[in-house]
Subunit: 340 residues, 4 copies
């Protein structure tokens, strides 16, 4: 299958390129970037040195292929969808444009970004663990947001079982790559290095996706942490009824038993007792751990992903694998590094 | 005033030494360490190179002075208090031994560590912002724990005004120096570097102090973050009644208007909108910021300190300044560095 | 081919396990660790969670297999070689024990560690770029040291062409994983974080290997830098005769044109002008760059590797691939991550 | 003495402000910044929160004071010197404009930046350790560059004693704050974090200052390292004659015996055997250590400073203290933090 990556010089675009170059059923034929047009891929992604002879081309010069991945800013996908549909029969969109089904919800969190309803209806939600069957044979896929995905995978089993009472508190911690490739005052190394910057104490847009997927009332805080890659989400849940930790593990095991990329973390050692994003760099795993405060209905669920992989490019490839009927883990076998 | 630091080779001990060497009314005469006995202070604290000619001596050889600072492990202070009381008329204890007034509360969090009740009754709680008057003239002071102090300063104004409903969720993030000087598997650099290690999802011992100081029901999670110094505490509070952010700022301004070391952080710029521990390295400040989720009673309070200064040695010096009647900020004037 | 990793709980051992689990022609059957015996591999290597059901066994219980990798401390391999030879016909040793041919050289740098001469004669040097032909069919392979390997690959083309005058200055910078898994005062996170610790201003043992491989007189300084993985070696060479940068690139191109894991870095942009170890994490690449001080014979050669991969486990697998006749890159395809 | 800081929103400017606010003989009256004009100082320097009520004003609105510190880009000081001379009788310039005495040397390293010769003649070189007497009573002072200063203090004692043979190799490692406040692609956190980026393998402009101060032939390489603050310079010297380490220490002790801000580091423990910039954050110290390769004339000299303090603002204040006859250490007493 011949693939095009649009917006290939960004960080999500770079991960798509990395994964697709290693995918046995995909031939990466086109990578667009207006800024890097004419330069080799390694100019933006130095890890690809010696790995490919491709150069970036301007988006306007992209020809036809079998699948187009849109790694473009929010708003651009909705605007350009007509065009890209003439270039490939399959579209995998990594922006937020086709994620939200409910116009009011979208308008609250992404004001003024309503996509064409006809196109919206064609897109299927790219969260394999929740709607794998719906993804089989899909031609238009909208991949989940990074922190949203980590929160959804942490909360969905509880929500689906009706075990959540009241508002869930979602405390997300994110590395600097989540902010994308463009430098600004906040990403300047002397300012960003070593910070615990609570940039968003409430009201983050990813709430919309979590609400849509889980039907929960959510408060979300986001703290920028010193790492480059990785998202960790700590969800504080009030259980709707008293349950033991053992009961809760059973709920998660039932939900994720056959999932190739969800790992339940249940160690006694404090060192790796809970999911650690550092370990997941480059992998498509979502690790999930639990802790119930003894004698209460207060449950802490910790989830972690690589924001560029399971939180973007890897999830997109997983969705494509499902849509085409390939083995779901194809091209996503990287185990992760330790120590790092 | 001639001062002795017991346990002077640890990180809190080192900060005490640094601060006392710069204190115009204190002469540091003795620093004990069994492990480093006979070696110059710079062997444990290389920042003191050229700053002092003192060497460590064994604890058993410490003579008399005017004030003894106990920077020893929990349990040791209660055990050695009789001895150190023969060495100085004033004791400032930085361990947990004399912090908790309620035996049941202490037993739950520090099992088997009950101090002699007579000694316990002599100690006054070393939190200037809460009990300054009580500290004037004090001869025995028990300094608050690091994360506890940051949480208490964040929550006390609300608690005192009866504005808190239900359980408060205290999410603490701590650098590696909080774990002390002794290497272990978890502090090994390849394992500790870059982590978001949720070592304690619930049940941290500092809950006891927060409960005692604020009378609140508290859930506390602790995450080890990549920095060396600094604690950030994010407290999620449900307000007992609807209030505006303006109302809430008024509560905090009333509480801390004249405090030399509490700074209210109220910026519009996302870059420094909330307290950032990195900026506080070496200082005795506690920075506090607020954010009310619009249309709700959900309040986020963020506080930050240097765990070794306002969370230990600096707070101890501030308490001594109050007890002796010196200007409260003496020896604690360092402004902090930016960038760092 | 059935493989055993001895000393599998260390960092090099962990990388061997990771690579061998992904190697299509190898079945990892035994991983030994006395300390972790009985525990699953993920107890030492949390990245392997869900990847294997193997547990560590004591070294004494290891049975037979087709190849044994010795990832043991220096000295242990020489001591245990008789034993392990009864367990497999092929030995790949990652310690220093069989690296040095010259007894005097070894004695100077590793005093008292002389291996049995019979065994020493059997071992071939595990540096594919220098002695690939010699490795074909090899049954006993001694893999190069991490910093040595980076320095050798940087200097050998010049040395082989007789282009080096006088002493070469090798300035090595190393991450914390190079010090291994055992915590000590120097690896304690608060002490190790953010350092530029010149632990070894001269006399590092890796000089011996560089001298042996390149026949050069070498001064070597080693600085511990803040990263976990990665080695960067900056070699300062005085050329034996005036040459242009273009001439020098030709020398390196000739030497490494067909090498699958040596990449020559020749960018104009300052951002990635020279080899950067961060980009190589998890990969088997050695990146090499040059800069000639204009109008002089002073050449700077910069090389970088992942110390655990090309500086250890990956190089070992590459050697095995050559020895067995498999495609040389098998199991070593990982491209590396950016950003990281 | 009333002081003005021009270019006060930059990192060097921020350090000047921090130090001058704590200086007992200086009243900071004006801080200019065109970009931050009208905003409080804490907008650029959040560490100053609560420390001062000053706001930035545009440079054009600066009135008269007793001393003007120019913390402006190279070139700007030479252009604006006429203007600022009408604003204060004393000028302390932290740019490169008045550092170099030799026109050819300057033209090679700072092409087109020749200052007016009359002004140039008025300026005295701001390196107290080399020309303290010349600074007494000085009205115009040109402060040394950061890496240059660390290299000069490391090399001058040897150079002055005629102990250097041939070219000195100066290997400088610098944190990100040295690049100033303006974000660019290279300072973007995901790109800058964790790097060992050899941006300048040769030809750095600071060579000019080292040559001028020491009369040495110098090769200089500069590597950007992961820290924010701090410069470490490793100088490799070939001695002009055989000397013992003891002899060499005597040379340095003679040179720096009475220097308040030069510390000779001579420890046996590998942990702090050599100068470590991390320990110097916020201080005005230059730490210097030595190691002679046994049996050779190869000497390694390691020096470290905080690039913003001894490499800029602190050195400027030290020079002013000398010029005015105040105690030389006034306002520069900060000891530094450990751990950090």
């Amino acid at each position: 299958m011949r693939a095009t990556v649009v917006g290939g010089s960004g960080y999500i675009g770079g991960e798509l390129v990395r994964l697709l170059l290693g995918h046995p059923h995909v031939e990466l034929v086109t990578v667009t970037s207006d800024r890097y047009a004419g330069r080799p891929l390694r100019a933006a992604h130095p890890n690809l040195r010696g790995r490919t002879a491709l150069s970036f081309i301007p988006a306007t010069e992209a020809g036809e292929s079998d699948v187009v991945f849109l790694a473009v800013p929010h708003g651009a996908a909705a605007k350009e969808i007509d065009h890209w549909s003439t270039r490939a029969p399959r579209i995998v969109d990594l922006s937020a444009d086709f994620r939200l089904r409910d116009d009011a919800l979208r308008e609250r969190h992404y004001p003024g970004a309503a996509p064409d309803p006809g196109w919206l209806a064609k897109f299927r939600t790219g969260i394999p663990e929740l709607n794998r069957e719906n993804l089989r044979g899909a031609t238009h896929i909208s991949v989940a947001g990074c922190m949203a995905n980590a929160a959804i995978l942490a909360l969905h089993p509880l929500a689906a079982a009706g075990l959540v009472a009241g508002t869930v508190l979602v405390d997300a911690r994110t590395g600097s790559s989540g902010g994308g490739r463009t430098p600004d005052e906040g990403s300047h190394h002397p300012e960003r290095s070593g910070v615990l910057r609570m940039a968003k104490p409430h009201g983050h847009r990813h709430i919309a996706e979590i609400t849509q997927a889980c039907g929960l009332d959510v408060h979300m805080s986001v703290t920028a942490v010193p790492s480059v890659r990785g998202v960790q989400v700590v969800s504080h849940v009030t259980l709707a009824k008293p349950l033991s930790e053992r009961d809760l593990w059973a709920v998660y095991r039932d939900a994720y038993r056959d999932e190739p990329f969800v790992r339940l973390v249940r160690e006694r050692s404090a060192l790796h007792r809970m999911p650690e994003p550092k370990l997941l760099s480059g992998t498509n795993f979502c690790d999930i751990g639990l802790a119930l405060t003894p004698g209460t209905e207060h449950l802490v669920v910790v989830s972690a992903i690589d924001n560029l992989v399971k939180g973007g490019a890897g999830n997109a490839v997983q969705c494509l694998n499902i849509a085409t009927g390939w083995d779901e883990t194809t091209g996503l076998e990287f185990t992760g590094l330790h120590p790092l």
